[in-house]
Symmetry: C2
Subunit: 183 residues, 2 copies
DNA sequence: ACAAACATGTAACCAGTTACATGATTCA
DNA sequence: TGAATCATGTAACTGGTTACATGTTTGT
Protein backbone atom coordinates (compact mmCIF):
# COMPACT_ATOMS: atom_id res chain seq x y z
CA UNK A 1 0.00 0.00 0.00
CA UNK A 2 2.88 2.24 0.78
CA UNK A 3 1.60 5.59 1.96
CA UNK A 4 4.40 4.60 4.27
CA UNK A 5 6.07 8.00 4.29
CA UNK A 6 3.22 9.85 5.94
CA UNK A 7 2.38 6.91 8.20
CA UNK A 8 5.93 6.91 9.48
CA UNK A 9 5.94 10.62 10.25
CA UNK A 10 2.57 10.43 12.03
CA UNK A 11 3.44 7.36 14.09
CA UNK A 12 6.85 8.78 14.95
CA UNK A 13 5.39 12.10 16.09
CA UNK A 14 2.75 10.32 18.18
CA UNK A 15 5.45 8.17 19.78
CA UNK A 16 6.67 11.27 21.60
CA UNK A 17 3.28 12.03 23.14
CA UNK A 18 -0.43 11.67 22.34
CA UNK A 19 -2.01 14.65 20.62
CA UNK A 20 -4.71 15.94 18.29
CA UNK A 21 -4.32 16.06 14.52
CA UNK A 22 -3.90 19.81 14.72
CA UNK A 23 -1.08 19.56 17.28
CA UNK A 24 0.45 16.78 15.26
CA UNK A 25 0.90 19.03 12.32
CA UNK A 26 2.33 21.77 14.51
CA UNK A 27 4.77 19.30 16.04
CA UNK A 28 5.90 18.07 12.64
CA UNK A 29 6.34 21.64 11.44
CA UNK A 30 8.25 22.70 14.54
CA UNK A 31 10.47 19.67 15.15
CA UNK A 32 10.87 18.16 11.69
CA UNK A 33 10.20 21.23 9.59
CA UNK A 34 13.80 21.54 8.44
CA UNK A 35 13.64 18.19 6.62
CA UNK A 36 10.01 17.04 6.59
CA UNK A 37 6.49 18.33 5.98
CA UNK A 38 2.92 17.10 6.15
CA UNK A 39 -0.32 18.93 5.40
CA UNK A 40 -3.75 18.52 7.00
CA UNK A 41 -4.93 16.86 3.83
CA UNK A 42 -2.45 14.07 4.53
CA UNK A 43 -2.59 13.91 8.30
CA UNK A 44 -6.30 13.44 8.93
CA UNK A 45 -6.83 10.61 6.43
CA UNK A 46 -3.62 9.00 7.72
CA UNK A 47 -4.89 9.03 11.31
CA UNK A 48 -8.18 7.43 10.25
CA UNK A 49 -6.32 4.78 8.30
CA UNK A 50 -3.90 4.04 11.13
CA UNK A 51 -6.77 3.75 13.60
CA UNK A 52 -8.57 1.28 11.34
CA UNK A 53 -5.36 -0.75 11.26
CA UNK A 54 -5.10 -0.67 15.03
CA UNK A 55 -1.88 1.35 15.14
CA UNK A 56 -3.33 4.35 16.94
CA UNK A 57 -6.12 4.64 19.50
CA UNK A 58 -8.25 7.73 19.86
CA UNK A 59 -9.82 9.31 22.95
CA UNK A 60 -11.87 12.44 23.48
CA UNK A 61 -9.82 15.55 23.98
CA UNK A 62 -10.52 18.46 26.32
CA UNK A 63 -12.43 20.44 23.74
CA UNK A 64 -15.76 19.24 22.39
CA UNK A 65 -15.17 17.42 19.15
CA UNK A 66 -11.41 17.16 19.56
CA UNK A 67 -9.68 13.79 19.50
CA UNK A 68 -6.40 12.86 21.11
CA UNK A 69 -4.52 10.10 19.33
CA UNK A 70 -1.94 7.83 20.89
CA UNK A 71 0.24 4.96 19.69
CA UNK A 72 -0.93 1.42 20.51
CA UNK A 73 1.53 -1.40 21.14
CA UNK A 74 0.97 -2.58 17.57
CA UNK A 75 1.61 0.98 16.49
CA UNK A 76 4.97 1.05 18.23
CA UNK A 77 5.94 -2.18 16.48
CA UNK A 78 4.77 -0.76 13.17
CA UNK A 79 6.82 2.38 13.78
CA UNK A 80 10.04 0.40 14.17
CA UNK A 81 9.11 -1.63 11.09
CA UNK A 82 8.72 1.56 9.05
CA UNK A 83 11.89 3.08 10.49
CA UNK A 84 13.79 0.02 9.27
CA UNK A 85 12.54 0.42 5.71
CA UNK A 86 14.99 2.09 3.33
CA UNK A 87 14.47 5.82 2.97
CA UNK A 88 13.19 6.63 -0.50
CA UNK A 89 14.12 10.14 -1.49
CA UNK A 90 12.02 12.00 -4.04
CA UNK A 91 13.62 12.67 -7.45
CA UNK A 92 15.73 15.84 -7.29
CA UNK A 93 14.16 19.10 -8.44
CA UNK A 94 16.34 22.05 -7.60
CA UNK A 95 14.91 25.05 -9.41
CA UNK A 96 17.85 27.25 -8.45
CA UNK A 97 20.49 25.00 -10.02
CA UNK A 98 18.31 24.43 -13.08
CA UNK A 99 18.22 28.19 -13.62
CA UNK A 100 21.92 28.64 -13.02
CA UNK A 101 22.77 25.83 -15.43
CA UNK A 102 21.07 27.89 -18.13
CA UNK A 103 22.35 31.09 -16.58
CA UNK A 104 23.86 32.27 -19.85
CA UNK A 105 20.31 32.83 -21.14
CA UNK A 106 19.40 34.67 -17.95
CA UNK A 107 22.42 36.92 -17.54
CA UNK A 108 24.99 37.18 -14.75
CA UNK A 109 23.19 39.88 -12.79
CA UNK A 110 19.95 37.92 -12.48
CA UNK A 111 22.01 34.90 -11.48
CA UNK A 112 23.76 36.84 -8.75
CA UNK A 113 20.35 37.81 -7.36
CA UNK A 114 19.32 34.15 -7.28
CA UNK A 115 22.53 33.18 -5.51
CA UNK A 116 22.23 36.02 -3.01
CA UNK A 117 18.71 34.90 -2.25
CA UNK A 118 19.84 31.32 -1.64
CA UNK A 119 22.62 32.58 0.59
CA UNK A 120 20.14 34.56 2.62
CA UNK A 121 17.95 31.53 3.15
CA UNK A 122 20.92 29.43 4.25
CA UNK A 123 21.96 32.18 6.66
CA UNK A 124 18.44 32.32 8.09
CA UNK A 125 18.40 28.56 8.52
CA UNK A 126 21.69 28.74 10.39
CA UNK A 127 20.30 31.32 12.81
CA UNK A 128 17.18 29.26 13.33
CA UNK A 129 19.18 26.11 13.95
CA UNK A 130 21.28 27.93 16.52
CA UNK A 131 18.08 28.65 18.45
CA UNK A 132 16.87 25.06 18.09
CA UNK A 133 20.23 23.82 19.33
CA UNK A 134 20.02 26.06 22.37
CA UNK A 135 16.54 24.74 23.19
CA UNK A 136 17.59 21.14 22.65
CA UNK A 137 20.64 21.42 24.90
CA UNK A 138 18.35 22.39 27.78
CA UNK A 139 16.53 19.06 27.88
CA UNK A 140 18.14 15.91 29.22
CA UNK A 141 16.80 12.92 27.31
CA UNK A 142 18.15 9.79 25.62
CA UNK A 143 16.89 11.17 22.30
CA UNK A 144 19.06 14.30 22.62
CA UNK A 145 22.04 13.02 20.58
CA UNK A 146 19.67 12.13 17.73
CA UNK A 147 18.15 15.58 17.79
CA UNK A 148 21.64 17.07 17.63
CA UNK A 149 22.55 14.86 14.67
CA UNK A 150 19.74 16.25 12.54
CA UNK A 151 20.52 19.79 13.66
CA UNK A 152 24.13 19.28 12.69
CA UNK A 153 23.10 18.01 9.27
CA UNK A 154 21.18 21.23 8.69
CA UNK A 155 24.16 23.29 9.81
CA UNK A 156 26.61 21.47 7.56
CA UNK A 157 24.28 21.88 4.60
CA UNK A 158 23.67 25.57 5.31
CA UNK A 159 27.38 26.34 5.71
CA UNK A 160 28.09 24.52 2.46
CA UNK A 161 25.49 26.62 0.62
CA UNK A 162 26.95 29.82 2.05
CA UNK A 163 30.49 28.90 1.00
CA UNK A 164 29.23 27.94 -2.46
CA UNK A 165 27.23 31.16 -2.75
CA UNK A 166 30.26 33.31 -1.94
CA UNK A 167 32.46 31.43 -4.37
CA UNK A 168 29.77 31.63 -7.04
CA UNK A 169 29.15 35.33 -6.53
CA UNK A 170 32.80 36.01 -7.20
CA UNK A 171 32.64 33.98 -10.43
CA UNK A 172 29.52 35.81 -11.57
CA UNK A 173 30.91 39.21 -10.62
CA UNK A 174 33.87 38.58 -12.91
CA UNK A 175 31.37 37.75 -15.66
CA UNK A 176 29.24 40.90 -15.48
CA UNK A 177 30.03 43.29 -18.35
CA UNK A 178 30.03 46.35 -16.08
CA UNK A 179 32.59 44.93 -13.69
CA UNK A 180 34.63 43.19 -16.34
CA UNK A 181 38.30 44.07 -15.84
CA UNK A 182 38.92 45.56 -19.28
CA UNK A 183 39.84 49.08 -18.20
CA UNK B 1 -1.36 27.28 -15.89
CA UNK B 2 1.83 26.35 -14.21
CA UNK B 3 3.14 23.01 -15.37
CA UNK B 4 5.92 25.53 -15.57
CA UNK B 5 8.57 23.32 -14.01
CA UNK B 6 8.56 20.68 -16.72
CA UNK B 7 8.05 23.24 -19.47
CA UNK B 8 11.13 25.09 -18.30
CA UNK B 9 13.30 21.98 -18.27
CA UNK B 10 12.11 20.91 -21.73
CA UNK B 11 12.52 24.35 -23.31
CA UNK B 12 15.91 24.78 -21.67
CA UNK B 13 17.18 21.42 -22.88
CA UNK B 14 15.91 22.13 -26.42
CA UNK B 15 17.66 25.51 -26.36
CA UNK B 16 20.98 23.68 -26.53
CA UNK B 17 20.04 21.74 -29.64
CA UNK B 18 16.98 20.21 -31.36
CA UNK B 19 16.28 16.59 -30.49
CA UNK B 20 13.70 13.84 -30.09
CA UNK B 21 11.71 13.26 -26.93
CA UNK B 22 13.83 10.21 -26.22
CA UNK B 23 17.09 12.14 -26.51
CA UNK B 24 15.59 14.95 -24.48
CA UNK B 25 15.11 12.66 -21.54
CA UNK B 26 18.62 11.30 -21.90
CA UNK B 27 20.04 14.82 -22.02
CA UNK B 28 18.13 15.84 -18.90
CA UNK B 29 19.31 12.72 -17.10
CA UNK B 30 22.92 13.18 -18.16
CA UNK B 31 23.35 16.94 -17.80
CA UNK B 32 20.82 17.86 -15.13
CA UNK B 33 20.49 14.51 -13.38
CA UNK B 34 22.30 15.69 -10.25
CA UNK B 35 19.57 18.25 -9.50
CA UNK B 36 16.65 17.60 -11.87
CA UNK B 37 14.57 14.77 -13.32
CA UNK B 38 11.80 14.24 -15.85
CA UNK B 39 10.08 11.03 -16.93
CA UNK B 40 8.64 10.13 -20.33
CA UNK B 41 5.17 10.48 -18.86
CA UNK B 42 5.93 14.17 -18.39
CA UNK B 43 8.07 14.88 -21.40
CA UNK B 44 5.85 13.71 -24.24
CA UNK B 45 2.70 15.51 -23.10
CA UNK B 46 4.82 18.60 -22.41
CA UNK B 47 6.19 18.62 -25.95
CA UNK B 48 2.68 18.32 -27.40
CA UNK B 49 1.48 21.17 -25.21
CA UNK B 50 4.44 23.39 -26.03
CA UNK B 51 3.95 22.75 -29.76
CA UNK B 52 0.26 23.71 -29.50
CA UNK B 53 1.38 26.93 -27.82
CA UNK B 54 3.90 27.59 -30.57
CA UNK B 55 6.97 27.34 -28.38
CA UNK B 56 8.47 24.38 -30.16
CA UNK B 57 8.36 23.27 -33.79
CA UNK B 58 8.59 19.66 -34.87
CA UNK B 59 10.16 18.10 -37.94
CA UNK B 60 10.57 14.52 -39.08
CA UNK B 61 13.61 12.78 -37.70
CA UNK B 62 15.91 10.34 -39.45
CA UNK B 63 14.00 7.30 -38.28
CA UNK B 64 10.48 6.62 -39.45
CA UNK B 65 8.09 7.91 -36.86
CA UNK B 66 10.66 9.91 -34.95
CA UNK B 67 10.22 13.65 -34.40
CA UNK B 68 12.91 16.21 -33.84
CA UNK B 69 11.79 19.19 -31.76
CA UNK B 70 13.36 22.63 -31.76
CA UNK B 71 12.76 25.92 -29.99
CA UNK B 72 10.89 28.62 -31.93
CA UNK B 73 11.56 32.32 -31.40
CA UNK B 74 8.49 32.49 -29.18
CA UNK B 75 9.90 29.48 -27.35
CA UNK B 76 13.14 31.26 -26.63
CA UNK B 77 11.24 34.22 -25.23
CA UNK B 78 9.12 31.90 -23.14
CA UNK B 79 12.25 30.19 -21.84
CA UNK B 80 13.68 33.44 -20.51
CA UNK B 81 10.29 34.26 -19.03
CA UNK B 82 10.24 30.95 -17.15
CA UNK B 83 13.87 31.32 -16.08
CA UNK B 84 12.97 34.65 -14.47
CA UNK B 85 10.16 33.12 -12.43
CA UNK B 86 11.07 32.39 -8.82
CA UNK B 87 12.20 28.81 -8.23
CA UNK B 88 9.65 26.97 -6.18
CA UNK B 89 11.24 24.16 -4.25
CA UNK B 90 9.18 21.15 -3.23
CA UNK B 91 8.49 20.71 0.50
CA UNK B 92 11.39 18.93 2.17
CA UNK B 93 11.15 15.16 2.65
CA UNK B 94 14.42 13.72 3.84
CA UNK B 95 13.78 10.13 4.88
CA UNK B 96 17.27 9.73 6.29
CA UNK B 97 17.00 12.63 8.72
CA UNK B 98 13.47 11.62 9.68
CA UNK B 99 14.78 8.19 10.68
CA UNK B 100 17.76 9.61 12.54
CA UNK B 101 15.56 12.04 14.45
CA UNK B 102 13.76 9.01 15.86
CA UNK B 103 17.01 7.05 15.96
CA UNK B 104 16.54 6.17 19.62
CA UNK B 105 13.70 3.84 18.58
CA UNK B 106 15.88 2.35 15.86
CA UNK B 107 19.12 1.84 17.77
CA UNK B 108 22.62 3.27 17.20
CA UNK B 109 23.88 0.41 15.04
CA UNK B 110 21.05 0.69 12.49
CA UNK B 111 21.60 4.44 12.45
CA UNK B 112 25.30 4.01 11.74
CA UNK B 113 24.38 1.84 8.75
CA UNK B 114 22.09 4.57 7.44
CA UNK B 115 24.81 7.19 7.87
CA UNK B 116 27.44 4.99 6.23
CA UNK B 117 25.11 4.49 3.29
CA UNK B 118 24.57 8.22 2.90
CA UNK B 119 28.32 8.80 3.11
CA UNK B 120 28.85 6.26 0.35
CA UNK B 121 26.37 7.99 -1.90
CA UNK B 122 28.01 11.37 -1.30
CA UNK B 123 31.39 9.86 -2.08
CA UNK B 124 30.08 8.35 -5.30
CA UNK B 125 28.58 11.69 -6.30
CA UNK B 126 31.92 13.36 -5.72
CA UNK B 127 33.69 10.89 -8.00
CA UNK B 128 31.03 11.34 -10.65
CA UNK B 129 31.26 15.11 -10.45
CA UNK B 130 35.04 14.94 -10.87
CA UNK B 131 34.46 13.16 -14.18
CA UNK B 132 31.81 15.66 -15.25
CA UNK B 133 34.17 18.51 -14.36
CA UNK B 134 36.92 16.97 -16.48
CA UNK B 135 34.56 16.65 -19.45
CA UNK B 136 33.26 20.18 -19.01
CA UNK B 137 36.72 21.73 -18.86
CA UNK B 138 37.43 20.31 -22.30
CA UNK B 139 34.78 22.42 -24.06
CA UNK B 140 35.19 26.12 -24.66
CA UNK B 141 31.83 27.81 -24.49
CA UNK B 142 30.23 30.88 -22.91
CA UNK B 143 28.04 28.52 -20.87
CA UNK B 144 31.05 26.85 -19.25
CA UNK B 145 31.15 28.96 -16.08
CA UNK B 146 27.47 28.20 -15.46
CA UNK B 147 28.08 24.46 -15.84
CA UNK B 148 30.93 24.76 -13.34
CA UNK B 149 28.73 26.61 -10.87
CA UNK B 150 26.25 23.74 -10.71
CA UNK B 151 29.04 21.18 -10.47
CA UNK B 152 30.58 23.14 -7.61
CA UNK B 153 27.22 23.18 -5.82
CA UNK B 154 27.11 19.40 -5.97
CA UNK B 155 30.67 19.16 -4.69
CA UNK B 156 30.05 21.49 -1.77
CA UNK B 157 26.93 19.56 -0.82
CA UNK B 158 28.66 16.18 -1.12
CA UNK B 159 31.63 17.27 0.96
CA UNK B 160 29.28 18.64 3.61
CA UNK B 161 27.46 15.29 3.80
CA UNK B 162 30.73 13.43 4.13
CA UNK B 163 31.96 15.67 6.94
CA UNK B 164 28.61 15.33 8.71
CA UNK B 165 28.63 11.55 8.24
CA UNK B 166 32.06 11.22 9.83
CA UNK B 167 31.14 13.46 12.73
CA UNK B 168 27.85 11.58 13.20
CA UNK B 169 29.46 8.17 13.04
CA UNK B 170 31.72 9.14 15.92
CA UNK B 171 28.73 10.28 17.96
CA UNK B 172 26.83 7.07 17.25
CA UNK B 173 29.88 4.90 17.95
CA UNK B 174 30.12 6.40 21.41
CA UNK B 175 26.45 5.53 21.89
CA UNK B 176 26.60 1.84 21.01
CA UNK B 177 26.43 -0.35 24.14
CA UNK B 178 29.28 -2.61 22.92
CA UNK B 179 31.71 0.25 22.50
CA UNK B 180 30.53 2.24 25.48
CA UNK B 181 33.57 3.22 27.57
CA UNK B 182 32.43 1.57 30.81
CA UNK B 183 35.20 -1.01 30.95
C1' DA C 1 18.28 -13.97 -36.59
C1' DC C 2 18.25 -11.81 -32.49
C1' DA C 3 19.17 -8.50 -28.90
C1' DA C 4 19.81 -3.94 -27.63
C1' DA C 5 18.89 0.56 -28.27
C1' DC C 6 15.84 4.05 -30.24
C1' DA C 7 11.36 5.98 -30.25
C1' DT C 8 6.41 7.38 -29.05
C1' DG C 9 2.66 7.60 -26.45
C1' DT C 10 -1.25 6.52 -23.00
C1' DA C 11 -3.65 4.89 -18.84
C1' DA C 12 -3.69 3.93 -14.22
C1' DC C 13 -2.27 5.19 -10.24
C1' DC C 14 -0.13 7.71 -6.27
C1' DA C 15 1.23 11.39 -3.29
C1' DG C 16 0.51 15.59 -2.10
C1' DT C 17 -1.30 20.54 -1.79
C1' DT C 18 -4.88 23.95 -1.62
C1' DA C 19 -9.07 25.62 -0.85
C1' DC C 20 -13.14 25.14 1.21
C1' DA C 21 -16.68 24.28 4.84
C1' DT C 22 -17.60 24.18 9.55
C1' DG C 23 -17.55 25.01 14.23
C1' DA C 24 -15.70 25.53 19.37
C1' DT C 25 -12.82 27.96 22.62
C1' DT C 26 -9.93 31.49 24.39
C1' DC C 27 -8.56 35.92 25.20
C1' DA C 28 -8.27 40.88 24.72
C1' DT D 1 -18.24 40.91 21.16
C1' DG D 2 -15.16 39.97 18.02
C1' DA D 3 -10.63 38.23 16.50
C1' DA D 4 -7.30 34.68 16.88
C1' DT D 5 -6.45 30.15 17.66
C1' DC D 6 -7.79 25.41 18.00
C1' DA D 7 -9.87 21.72 15.63
C1' DT D 8 -11.72 18.39 11.95
C1' DG D 9 -12.49 16.98 7.70
C1' DT D 10 -13.39 16.71 2.42
C1' DA D 11 -13.08 17.71 -2.59
C1' DA D 12 -10.79 19.23 -6.40
C1' DC D 13 -6.80 19.53 -8.43
C1' DT D 14 -1.78 19.09 -9.69
C1' DG D 15 2.27 17.03 -10.55
C1' DG D 16 4.39 13.20 -11.03
C1' DT D 17 5.75 8.01 -11.65
C1' DT D 18 5.11 3.38 -13.49
C1' DA D 19 3.64 0.11 -16.38
C1' DC D 20 2.06 -0.97 -20.55
C1' DA D 21 1.56 -1.24 -25.62
C1' DT D 22 3.77 -0.76 -29.83
C1' DG D 23 6.98 -0.55 -33.34
C1' DT D 24 11.75 0.60 -35.91
C1' DT D 25 16.61 0.54 -36.47
C1' DT D 26 21.26 -0.82 -35.49
C1' DG D 27 24.73 -3.84 -34.46
C1' DT D 28 26.42 -8.55 -33.69
Amino acid sequence: MSTAQTDLAVLAALSVEPMTGYRLREAILRDLGAFWSESFGQIYPAITRLREQGFVATEHGERTGSSVHRLTEAGRTRLVELLREPATSPPPRNGLLLRLFFGDALGPEACRALVADARGRAEALLTELAAVRRDADAERAPELPYRLITISAGEHAARAWIAWADETDAVLAALTPATSPVR
